[in-house]
């Protein structure tokens, strides 16, 4: 995904910093670049890549073998595909003020359905069979999205509860589909989705890019992006302004689940083993991390798809850096958790208040508001 970084949010990021009263002179170019929401994520990504490059000079080389690209950076792009697919949907859900904890389980269900179908099919190697398998996997993800969306938007259940039901029960369902076995099949066209190349670029990268563009068009070439941000910022005010938050929320959970299903297929295709217990385990954490790294606040509102892309790249670069620096790989989840906590705290308005006013003003949030 080292391709051109498309500017996906034409109207938002270039706006001048909000806190500046108009009377003041416009901030300098350097200052505006620094205050751009992509600035720090990109700096972090570049720093990581440079560090890895210093440690291991071959890190930066990309070579052309049999017309296909190879190299560590290509691997990073390939590894970014799954988290990016998850994070694109998650970013939309988070923008509405929700969360989808079920993405990992949906990955497992979709892959289980696809591979179980292939396993039973007469000719698993044919392209059409593989296509049906993918469609079935995505269809079951659609069902999961419909369920999540129904719970959240129609029944009004808190998002984390609604999706947690599927997160736990969904793995049970995946186990039921695979009968508790690790289903393994062979199908060249299906495997191609995970480990093939198109025009020299790994297929997962192509799939992720197509989805990125599709989601970007869906939210930024229509009013969907603005409306779901408005839901996330102020639901009641949005309702009174005619925003159909029920439909939009529902749609967003469906999109998120569809992308998760696709991610499951892409993730499982190289090995073609449906391990219902482990596929997608803790992947919701990866997705959330990509989203917050990209500058989207977990409390909802403004979201940044371009930032999410950078977040996904940072995530897989870290995973690769761990190998390069010979750090025990068990540390990675801990590191991810710390990153999420730090970013959450950094985003908290309370911290800014604290930095501005000094420790004396750090008060509990329960400042009573009395109607007057």
């Amino acid at each position: 995904m080292s391709g051109p970084t498309v500017e996906l949010t034409p109207d938002t990021p270039s706006s001048p910093p909000p806190a500046q009263p108009a009377a003041q002179p416009r901030p300098s170019v350097a200052r505006r670049i620094m205050q751009h929401q992509l600035f720090w994520p990109v700096v972090a990504l570049i720093a990581l890549i440079i560090l890895c490059g210093i440690k291991n000079p071959t890190f930066l080389t990309i070579e052309l073998r049999d017309g296909n690209l190879f190299g560590q950076l290509v691997d990073i792009a390939r590894m970014s595909a799954t988290p990016l697919l998850l994070a694109l949907g998650m970013a939309l859900v988070i923008a509405t003020g929700g969360i989808d904890l079920s993405v990992g389980a949906v990955m497992a269900i979709s892959l289980a359905v696809s591979l179980t179908y292939l396993d039973g099919a007469a000719n698993p190697g044919s392209v059409s069979t593989a296509a049906v398998a993918v469609l079935l996997g995505v269809a079951v993800a659609l069902a999961a999205g419909l369920f999540n969306g129904f719970m959240v938007s129609v029944l009004g259940v808190q998002p984390f509860i609604a999706t947690m039901i599927l997160m736990v029960a969904g793995r049970g369902v995946a186990m039921l589909i695979t009968q508790g076995q690790i289903t393994t099949v062979t199908s060249a066209p299906f495997k191609f989705l995970g480990s093939g190349f198109v025009f020299g670029i790994p297929t997962p990268v192509i799939i992720a890019l197509i989805m990125l563009v599709a989601v970007a068009i869906l939210v930024r070439r229509t009013a969907l992006g603005m409306l779901l941000e408005s839901i996330g910022i102020n639901r009641e005010a949005s309702r009174l302004a005619g925003v159909q938050s029920r439909n939009i929320t529902w749609l967003v959970y469906i999109v998120c689940a569809l992308l998760a299903g696709l991610a499951g297929i892409v993730y499982g295709a190289p090995t073609m083993a449906a391990d219902a217990n482990n596929i997608g385990l803790m992947k919701e954490m990866d997705a959330i991390m990509c989203v917050v790294l990209g500058g989207t606040a977990l409390s909802g509102g403004k979201f940044y798809l371009s930032g999410t892309v950078v977040g996904a790249l940072i995530l897989s670069t870290i995973e690769r850096a761990v190998v390069i620096f010979h750090i025990p790989s068990q540390i990675t989840p801990l590191f991810k958790a710390l990153v999420i906590i730090v970013v959450c705290v950094a985003q908290s308005p309370k911290l800014r208040e604290l930095l501005r006013d000094g420790a004396a003003k750090l008060r509990p949030r329960a400042l009573p508001e009395v109607a007057s």
Binding site: M151, I161, I331, A337, L338
Partner: protein, 348 residues
């Protein structure tokens, strides 16, 4: 409701608004708990009818087994009840259970004295609870996000401690885990072990705190849905209460981690995945409102029994164990939807 405000009398007439004793218990807040007890009875009847046979299904042994298998869950659910009554949530408890188990399994072979290890186990939970509480209270982060982050942190630490399953072979620990009082004879023998005693003690203490102390009543007050405004204006400590419920929940998770280690005699980094949902399910089945503000910790006890019975029935039916997850999901779904329905009806 018989609220009459007399307005014509020359001297101020007393404002009367009395509910008869019985009717008070028919008000909507008791509906969920009535559903819980009904569910329990229904399941016991089903069990008796299907598997009763000669020796009967419902027996002291059944309850002893239920409590023995779910002691850790009861402790978790009790802690979770505090948090949910304030309108919060703690998603970190399952991961904390796993972490405590691993730490115990790592420290004991290193020769650290058993009492110290147990204390450390509990304090790990307390620390996580405190962390969540601080994030929620002082940084104004939503509870599910703060506790989700803590869950990731605990799982990350688990991986650092070990990715293998570690058996706990310490003798003293084994003795504590194995100690029990036996009752009855022959095949009807049933026992009370340390885990059960601890779990029931935790339940009783929680009941006393929630229903008979100022702190406990403040917990309910915070959950009324105004962000602790009313409680604060009443001069009670809303912020401190909100911090404390997470400390309580974390501490309970620490205790539950020890009980779970008693139960499995091992530590493993993948234990307790989805355990937070089990605890939430037990609390919700037990009649506590997910939206906060209402519930009964004793109901949580019943909720845990219902949860245990589901597992027993699934096992007796010969279904695969992963059905349990699906079933718990469905039961939780039903109760969550039921609560929503009551809430919506009450508002209209």
């Amino acid at each position: 409701m018989t609220t009459t405000v007399q307005s014509q009398a020359p001297t101020p007439a007393p404002v009367r608004s009395r509910l008869s004793g019985l009717r008070r218990y028919l008000s909507p807040e008791y509906l969920p708990i009535a559903g819980t007890i009904l569910t329990l009875i229904l399941m016991l009847v089903i069990g008796e009818v299907r598997y009763g046979g000669e020796r009967g299904f419902v027996s002291p042994k059944l309850f002893s087994n239920l409590l023995q298998d779910n002691a850790y869950l009861l402790v978790l659910a009790v802690g979770m009840t505090f948090v949910i009554i304030t309108g919060g949530i703690d998603l970190s408890v399952g991961a904390v259970v796993a972490l405590v188990g691993l730490v115990i399994a790592t420290l004991l072979p290193m020769g650290v004295p058993l009492p110290l290890v147990l204390i450390i186990g509990v304090l790990i939970g307390t620390t996580f609870g405190f962390l969540i509480g601080v994030l929620v209270e002082y940084f104004d982060i939503q509870p599910f996000i703060a506790s989700l982050a803590a869950m990731f942190l605990a799982r990350g630490l688990c991986n650092v401690v070990s990715v293998q399953s570690l058996a706990i072979k310490d003798e003293g620990f084994g003795a504590l885990a194995g100690w029990s009082l036996k009752f009855g004879e022959g095949r009807d023998i049933w026992k009370i072990n340390l885990s059960m005693i601890i779990a029931v003690l935790v339940l009783i203490v929680a009941y006393v705190i929630l229903h008979h102390t100022r702190f406990g009543r403040t917990v309910y007050g915070v959950g009324v849905g105004d962000g602790g405004n009313a409680v604060q204006l009443m001069g009670l400590k809303a912020g401190r209460t909100r911090l404390w419920v997470y400390v309580i929940s974390g501490t309970c998770a620490g205790v539950a981690g020890i009980l779970f280690a008693f139960y499995t005699k091992s530590g493993f980094n993948l234990t307790g995945i989805g355990m937070e949902l089990d605890a939430i399910a037990a609390v919700v089945i037990g009649g506590t409102l997910l939206a906060g503000g209402g519930g009964f910790v004793l109901g949580t006890g019943v909720g845990v029994l219902v949860y245990g019975l589901i597992q027993v029935l699934i096992a007796r039916e010969g279904l695969d164990s992963w059905w349990t997850k699906v079933f718990i999901g469905v039961v939780l779904l039903v109760f969550v939807v039921l609560q929503r329905a009551i809430a919506v009806r009450r508002r209209s």
